[in-house]
Symmetry: C2
Subunit: 274 residues, 2 copies
Amino acid sequence: MKVLKSHKSFDGTVQFWQHDSEVTKTKMNFSVFLPPGKAKGALIWLSGLTCTDENFITKAGAQKYLNDLGLMVICPDTSPRGLNLPGEHETYDFGSGAGFYLNATTPGYADHYKMDDYINLEIYNILTNQFHISNNISIFGHSMGGHGALVLGLKNSKKYKSISAFSPIVNPSEVPWGIKAFTGYLGEDKEAWKNYDACELIKMGHRHQNPILIDQGLKDDFLNVQLQPEKFKSLCEQKDQKVVLNLLDGFDHSYYFIASRIHHHLEFHAKFIF
Amino acid sequence: MKVLKSHKSFDGTVQFWQHDSEVTKTKMNFSVFLPPGKAKGALIWLSGLTCTDENFITKAGAQKYLNDLGLMVICPDTSPRGLNLPGEHETYDFGSGAGFYLNATTPGYADHYKMDDYINLEIYNILTNQFHISNNISIFGHSMGGHGALVLGLKNSKKYKSISAFSPIVNPSEVPWGIKAFTGYLGEDKEAWKNYDACELIKMGHRHQNPILIDQGLKDDFLNVQLQPEKFKSLCEQKDQKVVLNLLDGFDHSYYFIASRIHHHLEFHAKFIF
């Protein structure tokens, strides 16, 4: 494991790391912000389609608040890189930059695209072993990464103190992005898909002990087809999962939205981490 | 003039504009942040080498503070685009992305690379005519753009209420970046260079009525060869120009530095704009 680049940021440090992943069997990159002194906890940020480990740390404007709260953030890449699997680099919503935070089972992808284990085991262990944060960990993300945060958080509710999402894909089994990705990574058997679908997980009985926070912009071009967070909200209400869904006028799917609301999410997580 | 993209950001709006510039005789791009309601004033941000109209607005984290202060910012591109002048696209520090905020006089470049007039006349007029801000305007920038802010601000002290810079090139006539650019844009006659060199302008008697703010990181790889802000500070002190030079431990030349200190610069300008 090595630091590729390091930059002072507020009173802390932004670092870009690279390591040999045992899970994906590739080199993997992640970025972190480390607040001054010992961090009181960590947030795992899962990015959306086409993103790398750089988007959040350059664009979200989170450092000031993380600095003041004494929290670190770790931002993994969104897929393995440097492979040449069939169809891996042809479209923005499948393969590289589009790992969907699941363990693939289809030929070729099954050997490397294990982003569920990569985040939930390997990145989690890196927080413990490299950054000495073992318990006070929460998870959040955007779009495909909002899906990842909901799925990983609901299935591992004791590992993650709290879950939040910006503009998440809540029911991937039923929408074009998810159908394409799940078919490619998991095959045609839709039973296997349920394990990676936040709506299905709620139906199956998965719960998180704390409320789930979701922010959704109402000028988001993907709202009606790909996202539909109200489906998740009404399921949660039927099944006694607390959820706060904020539908926000004027905001779109971009990092300008995330930067405008990041403060709110960080303070939400801080309540449960401390 | 048209808006290419628009995003809600905090309670205001980020917009990316394109227009046909009369000065550069090319299409030019700029970005703006517009606070909610009528802006009380505007800041012109001049970016550094390799930047476009996007870097500041995505990475500096200025919107929250501009929003709260009621100020707009306009971020022009760093050179004309879409041309194919001799040597224009060969190196990062000359030609496209490296306009140096001067009016070129060398063949080919003289017809288009008039970034001094573009900022000081055309962008200034756009603030008045398109955004209805006529008087309360300040100027700041980073590196090559810090040079631009110092030079334009000192030569047009009545037009700009205040000047600040991050990591500026203060004496381009004497350092590799400046020598290369000035030779290419202005030719070999070093007398012509003085008109675009902040140190020389101070020697010639140009002054600004308000203190000039400069922030400089001490881990900046360009500090000792390209930047040397203490040269400017000591000249200012000899010549009765007020200057505040903050030398800051640990910070480098990146936008992580700018984001860490942007608040400070915006509050500085607000004092003089209001």
